[in-house]
Symmetry: C2
Amino acid sequence: MPSYQPPLRDMQFLLHEVFEVTQEFQAMPRHAEVDADTINAVLEEAGKFAADVVFPLNISGDEQGCTLDRDTHAVTTPEGFKQAYAQYVEGGWAALSCDPEYGGQGLPFVVNQCLYEMLNSANQAWTMYPGLSHGAYEALHTHGTEAQKQLYLPKLTSGEWTGTMCLTEAHCGTDLGLLRTKAEPLPDGSYKLTGNKIFISAGEHDFTENIVHLVLARLPDAPAGSKGISLFVVPKFLVNADGSLGERNPIFCGGLEHKMGIHGNATAQLNLDGAVGTLVGQPHKGLAAMFVMMNAARLGVGNQSLGLTEVAFQNALAYAKDRLQMRSLSGTKAKDKPADPIIVHPDVRRMLLTAKAYAEGGRALSTFCAVLIDKELHHPDEKVRKDSAELVALLTPVVKAFLTDNGWTATTLSQQVYGGHGYIKEWGMEQFVRDARINMIYEGTNGVQALDLLGRKVLGNQGASLKKFGKLVARLVEEEGVNEKMAEFINPIALLGEQMTKFTTEIGFKGMQNPDEVGAASVDYLRVAGHLVFGYLFARMAQVALRAIAAGNSDPFYLAKLQTARFYFAKLFPETATLMRTARAGSRVLMDSDAALA
Amino acid sequence: MPSYQPPLRDMQFLLHEVFEVTQEFQAMPRHAEVDADTINAVLEEAGKFAADVVFPLNISGDEQGCTLDRDTHAVTTPEGFKQAYAQYVEGGWAALSCDPEYGGQGLPFVVNQCLYEMLNSANQAWTMYPGLSHGAYEALHTHGTEAQKQLYLPKLTSGEWTGTMCLTEAHCGTDLGLLRTKAEPLPDGSYKLTGNKIFISAGEHDFTENIVHLVLARLPDAPAGSKGISLFVVPKFLVNADGSLGERNPIFCGGLEHKMGIHGNATAQLNLDGAVGTLVGQPHKGLAAMFVMMNAARLGVGNQSLGLTEVAFQNALAYAKDRLQMRSLSGTKAKDKPADPIIVHPDVRRMLLTAKAYAEGGRALSTFCAVLIDKELHHPDEKVRKDSAELVALLTPVVKAFLTDNGWTATTLSQQVYGGHGYIKEWGMEQFVRDARINMIYEGTNGVQALDLLGRKVLGNQGASLKKFGKLVARLVEEEGVNEKMAEFINPIALLGEQMTKFTTEIGFKGMQNPDEVGAASVDYLRVAGHLVFGYLFARMAQVALRAIAAGNSDPFYLAKLQTARFYFAKLFPETATLMRTARAGSRVLMDSDAALA
């Protein structure tokens, strides 16, 4: 059976030593009082909840899955899931970073991000139930009417109700412009929705008495395509003005998908059979409102794979120290044992360090983004808010795709460390791999993320956002350019930063001639960008570690940081050499392949 | 539901146009009469059997799995599995390339290789039942006494009985020197075996009335470690001298593993409770005898992933042509449809072509090796036999690890083409991924393969075997060096061939100082070697295609070959640039990581 230790030390290192969040918070009236002790205490409790309550339900939840009663349309979640959620609500975890106006605790988003990393390590399938609520909360908080906010936000904040995102239909996932669900106006200003949604995560369950569905549909006068989509809030039970529950709304679960993983989460087909809802935001502007949820969800998906990477690494490390098999190539290490632990083998270390570097780089990036989101939301200076929002927009597809591709590699390698035992369910490693697989697909496939990054976020403003990130890199390079001890971390990012500017311009020019050049380069481009960002963050972590060591701090944590950073630059970062070459191969080799793909 | 078309055209291309097998066979008395029509007719029938009989049982076999009756120790396989096997036996497929002396059809091994690729595409879990028999057959054929051969080979040849390989125990997989199963001599010259084996594929089932287990165990006077292991044949039912079945031998299935994939195959825990067996080969030399099975099994595992790569690609291609979603970046392509088929997107093509290139490169390598095995077994010239065996030994770890790593990538990308539907069981794509995962692990993990290649097969003879392969590359480079049309295929392998020589020498020198340098470079090295081999084979395929086109042949198959080869050299082969860099990073960055891996 696998185990899990919340990585509190690494979180504290990032929050307090690398990003110095409490200094950042001092500039924000909302968070000025949030100090390090509070954050650490919250994270410690969060870690206990994740490890002690949610983690023990991970394997059993995978085995049992969810079941649908076709007569009552009721879904039963795996044993213990409902009780754990009740504890989650009781502990106030749902409200952690929600708006105090609706009963939230108002803590910074970055604290919630850390909570969610731990919950995802513990049990991704379970965590998706409360996780989806956050998207619904955000969409209503940003675009809802006052009445909608009063009706729904307090219950979403407390966790008494959960929320969903109902986008996909059988014939449209990426291409929401094709969606067919209809919304007809009713005399009282509400709407009657008819249609069929699929792949609705946490779409039906037994956790709460009500579920707040946010549904994309078309008004009768809607223009065709993605400019004719509106967003509606459609509760499972209608809500009376006093907040009490009214009639059951005809939005029924018609089936549950049988999936590769995340079995504990109910992936529902939802049939809307004249379900009543109200409009959120402007008519036909639903996609824009939905993107509020979607961007949060994309960061959340990156965070899911970060969680799986961490827990898979921890278990592989423990196994590699424990499993005795063969002798070290460089001579027996454990003379008193029948064989050496497999961690003596260089390639086992390569697999472990890959997972560790992806966990630590991923955590650094997730934390970096979360702090930017806190600034975007609460910094008094408009320019800071705007710049932060711009960087978050740039980094969102990187978090989603780079962290989930890395998570696939990391969970697969961690499983590999176990040899044959990794393929057996009871060891838990294969579940991490199966669960991690969905993260590369949902909330926009990783291919779609790459197009979003290169086409929209980078070339869409002639590289202006990328230059802003480039300035951060340049500042670090300047700062540490003469520090010999930092050279091994600074030189690679200085070089890649320069190459990347040229590389981007080159693709931009080619793309103006032929837009397929952008599509042909995008996936490779995103990984290069991911390494530029990881390289920058590993260099910043190394900088802090070197300073601590120079100041006489003998905590082996800092040495570990340097070792992981060295491994990262020696063994993972050099992938960029190939990626820039294959990106430059251009679109012809892909598009002139009709015979091969006949 | 997925579909499958046997890739007969590509097999015929490799057999008849690239490797010109019937010319090779003419030199071998055993196969001199085998002509192209016979081979093609056999493969056509084999394809029908795979597609029509075995493939329809793939998803249902995964859903049902195998069940063990703990009272009778009997294992029930999924519905239809047993009947399909009866058809397999009746059709004579088990005997295809077996020795006519024991009732085999005596066809070349390469024909069997093609049969097995198709069976693996159709249903890897099912195919492992007959597949394991081949190892047992080989071990007895090579090392058995005349009595053992007479007793077992006719039934293994006909398929009336199946065979297994019983190596692994709970505490030893890679490190067989640790195994504990005991064999005590009995007065009649047989042995009584006691111990517990795990992970025995096809270890118990309801296909046949008997199962021939080949078991590794220790004699009482055995030296410790891997030099004290002997091989025994232990039938499920004892066999009387006249071939009739005697008593049930106490080798009982004590449990079945719950696995990530290959659910249709019974992965058995086998308890030997004084089971009676006879010695195969010399006492304490069991490991050498076992390697006869093991090397065949390793090639077979590469072939499993080749099969999965092919079937996953075929389905992803069909889906990409069918699924309408978004418009092409370079302008609407299907004006009469609500959206373009997703195959218009460059990155969808990249995913498809990656899978296709790995299928075609893998098939070329598997076929190349199988022809070498036919020469090793049946060529009248001893030098040809020896050289062939040497190349097979060199290439075996490449086939096992490179094809299975590629298969993981290819099935994952093929699944990705389906978007969310790829994660849903009924589409069948996620099963290909789960089934493919075991191939990187069993019969020696891919890390063990890499050590075998670099440490034993390359550096173990100072690069002599590698040079032999290098000569093949050099010959092709010389032959086509002045052909402008071949330059795009020849230049990369000419350059990599040179780099590889230097690179190998460099690692060899470093390894003499510190053996961990070999372990640190081995996995990267194997992938570089894999690309040298694939590059060579793609260049040979391109050569044939260019000649056909120059001769006026307008079959689009040849153009498709060139397109796939171009894609391969532009987008996959350049990985070698990074791999040589990361291999050169050396062992320190891995071994000086005790703090990071504390």
